[in-house]
Amino acid sequence: MKRRTKKLLLNWRIILLTLFLIGSIVTLAVRPLTFGIDISGGVALVAQTEHPVDTKTMQLVTDSLQKRLNTLGLRDITVEAQGDQIVLIKVANVTSPEEANQIKSVIESQGVFYMEFAGTVFGTGNDVEYVGIYKINPDNSWSVPFRISKSAAEKFAELAKGKAGWPVDMFLDPPVNSLMIVPESVYKTMNSSEFNANAPEAPTLLERITRAFNISVVAYANQSADEIVKLAQGKDKIVLVDVPGELQTQLEAMNITVRYVPRAQGESDHALIVRVLGLYGPYSLGEGLTVGEPQQDVQITGSAPDRLTAEQEASTIYTVLKSGSLPVKLNVVGMEFISPRLGEGFRTQALYAGIGALITVLLIVYFHYRKWRIAIPVASTSLFEAVIILGFAALIKWNLDLPSIAGIIAAIGTGVDQQIVITDELLGGEKTTRISRRSSMLKRMGRAFFVIFASAATTIAAMSFLLVYFVGTLKGFAFTTILGVLIGILITRPAYAEIAKYLLGED
C-alpha cells in the first residue's frame, strides 16, 4: 500500500496538478482577481460609430475617448474597440446613477469637428493641438485661441492666400453626405451671401457645404416621398428641415435614415440653418492670415449682444475645440450601471453559489456511488479546477464578469460529467478476472478519454468562434469556458484518473 501511495504521488500527472495548484494559489495571493463592472460596480457603455470605420480611425476614436475621460478626472477606464463599429467603455468606481449618466452625456456630446474654407475641409478636431483659455472683452466680443497642426496650417495658408475677409466655417457634426430638404426661404438664405462674412464674392454657404461635405440642398416644393428618395440616391441620410412631418413617416417606412428638424418657436431662417448644420461662424478672415504664411496659432473671435451670451458662445466653442477630436460621430447605444455595493453582494453570492454547488456535487455523487472515496475526489478535483482557472485569470488580469463566471460554471459542470465517465469506466471493470483486467482497463480508460477529448473538442470549436469574432459580453464566457476545458483535459482529468485508479484499487 505504501509503495502504491508513493507511486501515485510521484506520478507526473499528480505532480503537474500540484504544481498548477500551488502556482494558482500563489498568484491569487499576490495578484488579486479583477472583476468586471457588473460585479465590482461601475458603468459600462456601448457606443456605436455612425458608420463602419477602418482600424486606424477606430484607434483614433478609442485614443481620444480615453484622453477625454481622463481629463474628467476619472480613473479605471477601459476603452476597447470591438469590430468596426462598436466601442466598449467601462468606468469603475462610479457610485451614483447620476454620475453614470454624466459620463454617458460626455461621450455623446463629443462630436466631429471640421474646419472648412471655400468648400475645402482643411482640418478636423484631430488637428486641434491646444486650446487656450477664452477671453471676453468689455464690448462683449470674445475670442478663443487655439493651435492647429502644421499640416492644417499649411493647407489653410495655401487656400486662404489673398482672400482677406472670406468666411472660415467651423462645423460640429454636420450632416455629411446627406440630402437636405428645406423650405424655399431657407434655401434662398443659404444660397445668398448672408453667410459670406465680408466677402460677397466668396462661394455661398450652399456651395461650400456641397463641396466640403457632399450635402445636397433642395427647396421643398411638395415633392412626393418617392421623388425625394430618387434625389437621395447614394446619400447616407435625408435631413428634413421644417417640412410637413408626414414625409418623415413615409420615408422611414421605406427604410431610409431620416433626421427631422422642426423649426423652433420664432426661430429665424438663419438660426435654423446654423442649428441644422452644426455651424460655428462664419468667421471673417483677418488679413494677417492671407499672405500665404502657415500660422499654427489662430483664434476664433465673435461678438454677442450681452456678456452672458458672449460667455456662452465662447465656452461652447472652447468645449467644442477641446473635446471635438473624434474622427467619427459616436452614439451611446447601451449603458449599464451597477452600484459598487450591489457588486459586492454579487461577489459573495457567486462565492456562496459556488460552494453550494460544490457541496451539492459532493452529496449527489456520494448518493450515486455510496463511496466517499469517489465523492470527495470528484468534488475536490472540481474545486482544484476552479482554483486553477481563477489563478490563470488573475495572472493575465482577466476581468471576471458575470458571463465569465458562467463560463467557469460551464467548464466545471462538464468537468464533473467527465470525471463520472472515468469513474464508471473504472468501476465497470471490477467484475472481470485479474489477468484480463489490466488490458481491459487500459481499453476502458482509452474509451473514457475518447469521450472526453471528443466533447472537449466540440466545446472548444463551438466557443472559439465567439472568442475571436464576436462583440459584446459573450467573449468572457467563451474565454473562461475554453480555458476551463483546456485545464480540464490537460491537467485535472488525467490527475483524477490516476487518483481514481488508486482509490478504486486498480493498478
Partner: protein
Amino acid sequence: MSKPKSKAKPTAGDAVRAKKQEKLSFLARMEYRKMIMYPLVVFVIALILLAVNFPTLGIDLRGGVVVTAYGVNANPDELAKYISDKIGVDVRVESFTGVETSGVRVYAPIGTDPLRIIDAMKEKYPAAEYTHSEVQPTFGEIAQQQGIRALAFAFLAMAVVVFLFFRNLVPSLTIIFSALSDMTIAVALMGIFGIELTTATIAALLMLIGYTVDSNILLTTKLLKRKEDSIDKAYLSAVSTGFTMSTTTLGALLILWIISTSQTIDNIAIVLIFGLLADFMNTWVLNAGVLKWYLTREAVRGGKA
C-alpha cells in the same frame, strides 16, 4: 466465467449501481421505433410552441430601459401604477427574491430617462440600491444578429467536430439533431415560463451545446466501440453513467439558481436545467433508439455479407 469473483464482497456502491440500472432498464426494453417517435413528437410540439409563443426578447436584444432596485419589497402592480403616474410613462414592474435580498425591476420604453424613475422611486424607498441600464434598438439589433450568428457558428463547429470524431453519418447526424432538439425544447420552455431571450440566455444555449454533446458522445462511443458487451448491456451502463452526470449537474444548477439574485446567473441556470431535462430524453431515448435501430440493421447486413 464460472470462476468466482476475486473480490467476492459486493459493496454498497455495487448494490446502488445495480438498483439504478434495474430502475433504468425500462429504457433498455423500450422498442426502438417508439424511442425514436416520442422525442420527435416532443420536438414537433416544441416547434409549434415556438411558433405561437416565442420567448420575448430582453432589453439587451430589443432596446429599452430597466431600473433595478434592491432592498425593495413592493406589490409590482401598485408600484407600476405609482411610477407611471409620477413620470407619465407606462412602466412594467417585476419583483424578485433571493436569499439575502429582494427587489424589483422596472421596465420602461426606450427614451425614458432612468434617472426620473429612480428619483420617483427614491421618494418611496430612499434606502434601496439602484442600478439601471438602457439599450438602443440599433444595438439590440446588432446583439440579435451576433447572437444568432454565434449560435449558428457554434452549432456548425460542433457538427464538424462530431463528424470528424465518429466519421459515421447516422450516429453523427443523430447527435447533431439531439443538440438541435435540446436547444429547441429549451427555448420553447423559456417561452412557456416567460424567460426572456437575452445575451445571457444565448450564452446558456451555447453552453447546452457543450453539455448535450457530452452525453451523446458517451452513448455513441459505448454503443459503437464497446464490442465485448451486448447492445443492451452497453446501453444500460451508459445510461447509468449519464443519469449520474445529469443529476449532478442539475443539482449544482438548482443550487446556483436558488442562491443567486443576479438575473444573468439565474437565467443561465434555468435555461441549462431545461436543456438538460430535454437532453435526457434526446440522448437516452431518441439517440439510443436510432443507434439500436442502426446497429441491428448493420448486424443484419453484416450477417448477409
